[in-house]
């Protein structure tokens, strides 16, 4: 039995390979007589198509792994990360990271509100001291609001 996940992955890789090959047509061949900047990307595109097709027609029995089983919690972690990227320039690191900490702790199953509150306050402070104060990592102030502007 051929895995459906492998069939879809193979199809995706084949389409990706075709797309990438088509995109390489825009790269000019500038080195006469030698392989130019287009050569390796084209070879890799062809290999992706070949790999994808091989995966589709592979008769090897696959494991029961299935990308469709990805849980909302796994996706939720990425959404929290995207929120961090979007909110930090607007609300500053401390406020955003407190929100991120609370959301991540909840995602990982912390339900005790005392633990949640303590960790939500402590984690951003620890990160701020460790990275921004101690290592001198520059973090832009929030454009709309920043906790630091209330303190200093």
């Amino acid at each position: 039995m051929i895995s459906r996940a492998d069939t879809w992955t193979g199809l995706f890789l084949a389409v990706l390979g075709f797309g990438l090959f088509w995109l390489t047509q825009g790269v000019r061949i500038t080195e006469a007589g030698l392989i130019g900047p287009r050569f390796v990307p084209q070879v890799v595109s062809v290999l992706l198509v070949a790999g994808g097709l091989a995966l589709i027609f592979s008769k090897a029995k696959n494991s029961d792994s299935n990308i469709g089983a990805a849980s909302l919690r796994a996706v939720g972690l990425i959404l929290i990360g995207i929120a961090h990227v979007y909110l930090t320039p607007r609300f500053g690191y401390l406020a955003t990271s407190a929100l991120v900490a609370a959301a991540t702790l909840t995602l990982f199953g912390v339900r005790n509100w005392r633990v949640l509150l303590a960790a939500t306050l402590a984690l951003p402070l620890i990160m701020h001291v460790a990275f921004i104060e101690s290592m001198g990592v520059f973090m832009p102030r929030g454009r709309w609001f920043d906790v630091l502007s209330l303190i200093a």
Binding site: T24, V27, L34, P37, A60, K61, G81, V85, V110
Partner: protein
């Protein structure tokens, strides 16, 4: 004598020495945390090393790799949960010992075997690397291109369960590395008109995404609320302590297992877990009491632990002599060499002599330190970890990754790349594509493309240069041979399974 010079270099750098001690401790703790591998920990900590001098940075990460491998045995023995994949084989006998009230004895056996294996591996590295480098220093672009091709083929076909998926993961890694401006002509390739893509993808966000974020996604899925701690019974009488009489009959097992590990370590793509299983299987086969293995005997702890730690040193040989990382940890270290502007390859032993031997000395000091930490504090570290809920550990790691990815170039784009790489790494895990092959291919591609173009510039016979140069032809033949052999074995295994299914 060079190694004495290395010790002098290290002791003249108190910062580096301090970071070696810190790494020995951090590695044991991180290795003992189920799910977080040494490679993931190193990936996450790479940005911290931007602020260190090269020796301190490399020594810190190198020693974490060593102590992390050892730390995996702590959770394997105490919780029956491997801290790293390399310690899976240790569980078979380590945990039954712990359940019989001999956890301290099992942990100390793991410590003795790990330290011995690691020391043997490092001695082979120190004696062998410079010797091999003196030969590989004569290599030109055709030989280098052949070496890179061999690495792509061997790592792609060996590192995962499926040869096809390993080779696809390698191709994907090459494709991602090609994004950006062509280094010779400056033409944009696969940049989609985005300014951020013109410099290509940087290593650190990709590393953190593929190894750490994907692991956090898997952990979030299972939503751990604490370590699944097994009851560890207290030691009874002197049965809980390791005696000389326990260790003496096992020196043969430890030495042979260390040599299996060292040989496997030199081969690109195989790594610690393969070494541990090979040593466990081989020593069980040789043992007179083979039927007792798996019930909780010390030899079953000694063999895999000696082998998986003996991989560490020799796995650096392909990196330092050819510029080809054989393991994920070596791939990350290669990235750190490049970040600090140190060109990797055989010339390293001349151009950065002090640094390399300082790094070897740091490795030896690190082994002794993690051995002492493990011997005296291993059980305590295990008990503390069992009490800290994973629901607090993983959010903390996530917060660190968000700022670590940003730190390298102070760029939120890199954080987005990390998250994207996390999704890719998660999909690869789910679909059983080896992430290590992807990362190693990403790191090797710029060098491979440069070597290919230089070779064809030098050649009067076009592509024939790769056949007419004997060393290049030999490397290509090895790569193709391994890939064909692995592919053939997979086909035969598939046919056998189908036949059995039809018969049953």
């Amino acid at each position: 004598m060079d190694i004495l010079h290395g010790f002098a270099t290290l002791f003249a750098n108190p910062t580096a020495l301090g970071f070696v001690a810190l790494a020995a401790f951090i590695g044991v703790v991180i290795g003992a945390l189920p799910g977080l591998t040494a490679a993931a920990a190193i990936a996450m900590l790479v940005p911290l090393t931007f602020y260190l001098d090269p020796l301190a940075a490399l020594a810190f990460l190198y020693v974490i790799g060593k102590s992390g491998r050892y730390g995996g045995s702590v959770s394997a023995i105490l919780f029956n949960t491997p801290g790293t994949t390399a310690s899976v084989a240790t569980m078979a006998d380590g945990h039954p010992l712990a359940k019989r009230g001999q956890s301290v004895r099992a942990l100390r056996m793991a410590t003795v075997a790990s330290v011995s294996g690691d020391l043997i591996g490092d001695i082979i590295l120190i004696l062998g690397a410079a010797l091999i480098a003196s030969q590989t220093a004569k290599f030109g672009p055709p030989e280098y291109f052949a070496v890179y091709m061999m690495a792509f083929l061997v790592i792609g076909s060996v590192v995962g369960k499926s040869v096809l998926k390993g080779l696809i993961a390698t191709t994907l890694g090459i494709a991602v590395a090609l994004v950006g401006l062509d280094p010779i002509t400056g033409q944009a390739r696969w940049t989609f008109g985005l300014l951020e893509l013109e410099n290509g993808f940087t290593l650190v966000p990709l590393l953190i995404g593929v190894f750490v974020i994907s692991e956090l996604m898997v952990q979030a899925e299972s939503r751990l609320t604490g370590q699944q701690a097994h009851v560890i019974e207290e030691a009874t009488g002197d049965g809980g302590h390791l005696r000389w009489a326990d260790v003496r009959p096992l020196w043969g097992v430890i030495t042979r297992s260390s040599l299996y590990g060292a040989v496997i370590g030199i081969m690109p793509g195989l790594g610690s877990s393969v070494a541990a299983f090979v040593a466990y299987g081989e020593e069980k086969r040789r043992a007179k009491d083979g039927d007792q293995w798996g019930t909780g005997i010390l030899a079953g702890v000694a063999a895999p632990e000696a082998a998986n730690n003996a991989v560490s040193g020799p796995s650096m040989i392909p990196l330092l002599t050819l510029g080809v990382p054989g393991t994920t940890v070596a791939a990350i270290l290669m990235g750190v060499f490049l970040i600090h502007g140190i060109p990797i390859g055989p010339t390293l032993f001349v151009a950065a002599h002090d640094l390399i031997y300082g790094l070897f000395a740091a490795g030896l000091i690190g082994i002794i330190l993690y051995g002492l930490i493990g011997w005296f504090f291993g059980p305590a570290i295990g008990r503390v970890i069992s009490r800290v809920p994973a629901s607090l550990i993983y959010p903390t790691i996530f917060m660190v990754t968000l700022i670590a990815a940003y730190t390298g170039r102070l760029s939120f784009w890199d954080v987005q790349v990390m998250l994207g790489a996390g999704v890719l790494g998660y999909a690869m895990r789910k679909l059983e594509f080896p992430p290590a092959a992807f990362i190693i291919a990403f790191i090797l591609t710029p060098g491979a493309e440069e070597a290919l173009r230089q070779s064809l510039l030098l050649s009067r016979n076009g592509w024939a240069i790769f056949i007419t140069e004997p060393v290049a032809a030999a490397f290509l033949a090895i790569g193709l041979g391994v890939a064909v052999w692995r592919g053939w074995r997979a086909i035969v295994a598939g046919r056998n399974t189908q036949t059995k299914d039809m018969q049953s």
